[in-house]
Symmetry: none
Subunit: 304 residues, 2 copies
């Protein structure tokens, strides 16, 4: 039994005639004749009474018409229901944002999501960047901004931006006065205050050190960027940060940041989500908005 047969049958009952129904349904009359016959064969009893001037439904036919109408209607409503679901995202969505990006993204993102999809309950989880990957993998967050260009297994990533790292020093520190840039080797020999292994710029700095064959001189490991900046301002050492972040916030006073060159160190920012399970509709919407916002920030020139 086919939905089309039911639709045709409804037309037949409604018009009381195969010929009229055929006209209304825009098909040839024999098509209806055949479908009706098959329907009757399948059900096993006559559905209409044939008379000289048309057909009238039998009792079974009437019953079938009632049920068929319900089914056809539900069928038609199905499409719209799913569409409506898609059109009005709602429910929870969670995004993980590393501390170093939070300051620029969190507020506009939250506001924009609230404005465009009031029914979405967006939760922003700020944290050290090293946690993001595992959170995404485990499903703790729907998506997260992550660093690093090679997409980790099990994650799908969308490129967002690339940013250059710079050396951050206390204002007036000897190594930076009068300079507009510093070469990598010099940086790696300075006493550095950096986050622990999986976080922030640490991976890039480690890699650069390994590539240059230089042992890092890490004097402190602190998993809190703002505290690192404070320590650097105190003259307790130097650190490496994205230029953007180093200059951001009131806490930038007392600090200078100069680009690292020969070679430059860059890191890639991506928006990642688990590749083996689909984003919820709400999450998809947030994903799109986040990319939009980030793209705008890039275009604004506040980013490379």
């Amino acid at each position: 039994m086919d939905i089309r047969q039911l639709r045709y049958f409804l037309g037949i009952v409604e018009h009381g005639s195969l010929t009229k129904a055929a006209e209304a349904l825009r098909v040839a009359q024999p098509a209806l004749s055949l479908h009706l016959k098959r329907l009757e064969e399948e059900i096993g009893c006559p559905l209409v009474h044939r008379t000289a001037r048309g057909v009238v439904p039998t009792q079974s036919g009437q019953r079938l018409a009632i049920r068929a109408a319900m089914l056809v209607e539900q069928m038609a409503g199905l499409r719209d229901e799913i569409r409506g679901l898609e059109a009005a995202p709602s429910g929870p969505a969670v995004i993980g944002i590393p501390t170093s990006l939070g300051s620029m993204l969190t507020v506009p993102l939250v506001l924009d999501v609230r404005r465009r999809y009031p029914a979405i309950r967006l939760r922003v989880v700020e944290g050290l960047s090293g946690h993001m990957l595992e959170w995404v993998s485990s499903g703790e967050v729907d998506m997260a901004l992550v660093f690093g260009s090679e997409p980790p297994p099990g994650l799908a990533t969308r490129f967002v931006a690339r940013e250059r790292l710079g050396l951050v020093a206390a204002e007036g520190a000897e190594v930076v006065v009068g300079r507009h840039s510093i070469d990598l080797a010099s940086v790696l020999n300075l006493p550095l205050i950096l986050p622990g292994q999986p976080h922030g710029v640490r991976a890039e700095v480690d890699r650069a050190a390994a590539a240059a064959g230089i042992d890092l001189n890490v004097v402190m490991e602190i998993d809190a960027l703002e505290q690192i900046k404070a320590l650097v301002a105190e003259g307790a050492g130097f650190t490496v940060l994205s230029e953007r972040y180093a200059r951001a916030g009131q806490e930038a006073k007392g600090l200078v940041c100069i680009p690292i060159v020969s070679p430059e160190i860059e890191r890639t920012i991506s928006l990642a989500h688990a590749s083996d399970r689909p984003l919820s509709i709400a999450a998809k919407a947030v994903h799109a908005i986040a990319l939009d916002q980030l793209g705008r920030l890039t275009k604004d020139g506040r980013w490379m």
Copy 2:
């Protein structure tokens, strides 16, 4: 959107893989690929997330699957429902009909049932009306026509008709010549030939006698209406019958029937069946036909 597409989609979601679903559904995998694609195009959003080891439904897909399952099930049930309505009536059905009603009902009922439900083996048990109630209660018959308006305990009844009783006398009997009606008191004093207690009009006559404070003068008790009529025609006494029945049949010759008045005696005819167990489908069909036939008889004016 087609019911088949929904079925396929359900298979896909259930198996989490086009390949596995194709196997289970006994179709080639590309067929599913195509159907899925069309569904997604029609609805306008992805329904499953493709991964390297299969597919997982998106939120929309999950919702669709739920609704689709309902629809598919309803669709499948439809055929059986309609069949149950008409095709299924088959097997035995037993109806009890009092003798006094048999002459007008039995033949058309049997013919109509045979015509509409050839698979039903209808058995008609004619008998004295007093037996009907107990037969219905005991399940000896599925349903029966009974007299009396108050529904007996354990029985569900449907009103059929109400008929007036009249005095039956031999043609030319003194009490009836030149009269068009007779008052109750006069009737009750006549020598009556009646069926035994639980049968036919006896209950009504007894009740009327009690109400009037008159002792009945029953000269014979015969549990066979035709014999009673024959005796009355012989001048052996008088009897009380429904006017309809008294006048019916060839046996009415030699008899006259005049309505009883002041007060009239009426009896109610109902179709009864056991209320504590459902009628079989066949019995239900017969029940409906019987009511239909009886309603028609009433409308024909052959009944009040």
